[in-house]
């Protein structure tokens, strides 16, 4: 029953956050207008147009990105049994960056759908390389996965740096801004893709939650519970890579959420349960909604990169939690 109550709280919090995020921003719109825009949208009304055309898709994208990255982090931390694993450790985001930089230097395109496409191709490339390398190493798959991921990540970064070294300063600043992430590219036409991938991923996590948890006890223990360890791990890796590739392509590099949110949730609830999994997704989503609100309302006429805020807010909160937990636990 308490788990049900927890989930209801999360749903309620999400609704409140959505309404808050729609009302706050460069211009504050009062809650009554927000409500009206949602119930009976009138496109001649400027404020309602801002809400429905700009803020709503943006907030939905932020929520989806938060959910998705938190889930991807949780998957990777589970299948590699490595508390430091997150989507960025495995070279997926550096692959995306390389894709973007290659596009810049070859064609000079600095915005639009081509950019997302290039990022997506880059991360797919990184993912394929990683899977091909680790497929041949079945025995100590976990170690080779992490090591290969880190090596690939450095390789892609080196290529990116080399290309940046030769390109002009304007391109560099555009690329840096892209790397730090933003939800400003959200619109109704492209929102279906992250929505589809994130819901697919959550469904898979819920479906395979037992076998995923069994992996936590080690490959050998999982095998004795009837789990096909190598297959499950590759499948889950594929899923989280796809998720990261889609999100990075649309939002740019939003770091730290995948690493941190699963750990924060883990402080409070055992992740073996359905409730724990959903709590992780909700926490990621809620966190991202408010990060986006901060990003677009802190400075006048200017937007802060989302990645800066996630890393800053997240790491301080995380350190605080570590310190406080150490004090309250009697065994320390």
């Amino acid at each position: 029953m308490s788990r049900l109550a927890l989930l209801c709280t999360f749903v309620l919090l999400t609704l409140v956050s959505f309404i808050g995020a729609l009302s706050l921003g460069a211009i504050s719109i009062d809650l009554l207008d927000v409500w009206q825009a949602l119930l009976s949208y009138d496109s001649r009304h400027l404020e309602q147009k801002v809400i429905v055309e700009l803020r709503l898709p943006r907030t939905i994208l932020a929520f989806l990105a938060g959910c998705g990255l938190a889930m991807a982090g949780l998957i990777l931390q589970t299948v590699t049994r490595n508390p430091l694993a997150d989507p960025y450790l495995f070279g997926i985001s550096s692959g995306a960056s390389l894709g973007v930089v290659v596009l810049f230097t070859l064609t000079g395109v600095q915005a639009g759908l081509a950019l997302s496409g290039a990022a997506f191709i880059g991360s797919l490339l990184a993912m394929t390389a990683l899977i091909v390398i680790t497929r041949t190493q079945m025995s100590n798959q976990v170690e080779s996965l992490v090591l290969a991921g880190v090596a690939l990540s450095f390789l892609f970064s080196a290529c990116t740096s080399l290309l940046l070294y030769w390109s002009d300063p304007q391109a560099i600043s555009a690329i840096v801004f892209w790397t730090l992430g933003s939800f400003s590219r959200a619109d109704w036409q492209t929102l279906w893709l992250p929505a589809l991938v994130v819901s697919l991923c959550i469904a898979c996590m819920l479906l395979f939650r037992r076998t995923l948890n069994a992996l936590l006890l080690g490959d050998e223990n999982a095998t004795t519970l009837g789990v096909h360890v190598t297959k499950l791990r590759l499948g889950m890796l594929l899923l989280s890579s796809l998720l990261t590739a889609v999100l990075v392509a649309i939002c740019g590099g939003v770091g730290f959420v995948g690493l941190m949110v699963p750990h924060i949730v883990r402080f409070f609830i055992s992740q073996a349960s359905t409730a724990g999994l959903l709590a992780t997704a909700f926490c990621g989503g809620l966190f991202m909604i408010w990060v986006d609100v901060i990003a677009r309302s802190v400075l006048d006429n200017q937007e802060l990169p989302v990645g800066v805020i996630t890393a800053a807010v997240g790491s301080v909160f995380f350190l605080l939690l570590l310190v406080l937990r150490k004090r309250s636990s009697p065994s320390m």
């Binding site: 049994r81 490595n82 508390p83 479906l207 395979f208 037992r210 076998t211 948890n213 069994a214 936590l216 006890l217 080690g218 050998e220 223990n221 095998t223 004795t224 519970l225 009837g226 789990v227 096909h228 883990r266 055992s270 992740q271 073996a272 349960s273 359905t274 065994s331």
Partner: protein, 270 residues
């Protein structure tokens, strides 16, 4: 008159061998485990105990020979079906995770549950019964990583109980534990009433608990049979390289039975 055929052995291992990179790990091993028997597997470090057990719980594929579970080759079982028959308790469990004791025990349900289903009341009862049997009901909401070594192994035994196997395999489940917990874990395993194949490092404990012993030496089966006939000072110096006396003492569990008791001289064969 129709002769009643004897029931098939729980597990039957025939001419099993394992080679890894041209070196022989296991060589021509054959033995049977009867239903309800408690078999102790002995041997010095590197004799191939863990490799043999891994072949039986299908983590390693043997190079030749075959293994049958209840008259059917173990390769003919699906992963899930095999896990419903055979549960395994290992020596060590990774600690880098944060699951409640209840959740770890509930993992024993994995081979019995289809993907979509959630836990019903029966499943919960299995988990609570197992927790009660290992005496950890009061810790069911605690985090697994906060438990002591003995408690962790009791949780793993409870998980194996929830799995409801016909054969329980244990690979030195008591190596790091205090004497009391070594005895406790083995008694718990024995109390399940299923066939057990357990490797031991404490020879006296193995003699006191097991119905029959298997002794591995350099990948081959050196001896098998009742403890009192297998464990002699001759075998101890041959296989384990220690000088020791073996005397027969009355079994603690069965007064009509005697078990060998080893007294080491703390010298070794050079």
């Amino acid at each position: 008159m129709i002769q009643a055929s004897s029931p098939p052995p729980m597990l039957s291992v025939k001419q099993l061998g394992l080679k890894v990179n041209q070196s022989t790990i296991l060589n021509d091993i054959s033995f049977d485990i009867k239903t309800g028997q408690f078999i102790g597997l002995l041997g010095p470090n590197g004799a191939g105990k863990s490799s043999l057990l891994r072949c039986i719980y299908r983590y390693t594929k043997p190079s030749y020979g075959f293994i049958q579970l209840l008259d059917k080759s173990i390769d003919d079982y699906s992963r899930q079906a095999y896990a419903q028959q055979v549960a395994v308790v290992l020596q060590e469990v990774p600690e880098q995770f944060n699951l409640a004791v209840f959740d770890v025990v509930a993992m024993g349900l994995t081979p019995h549950k289809p993907l979509f289903s959630s836990m019903d009341q029966d499943d919960k009862n299995y988990v609570y019964t197992a927790l009660e049997k290992v005496g950890l009901t009061h810790k069911n909401t605690q985090m697994f990583c906060s438990l002591s070594g003995g408690e962790k192994q009791r949780v793993m035994i409870a998980r194996a109980m929830v799995q409801r196997p016909k054969l329980l395999i244990m690979d030195e489940p008591t190596s790091h534990l205090d004497v009391k917990y070594q005895i406790q874990i083995m008694e718990l395993a024995k109390s399940l009433g299923v066939s057990v194949l357990a490797s031991f490092h404490d020879l006296n404990l193995a003699c006191a608990i097991s119905d029959s012993l298997l002794v591995l030496h350099q990948g081959s089966l050196k001896a098998q049979g009742k403890p009192q006939s297998v464990l002699t000072s001759h075998l101890l110096s041959d296989v384990f390289g220690v000088c020791a006396d073996v005397s027969l003492v009355q079994s603690a569990s069965d007064i009509h039975n005697v078990v060998p008791h080893i007294r080491y001289h703390y010298g070794y064969v050079k």
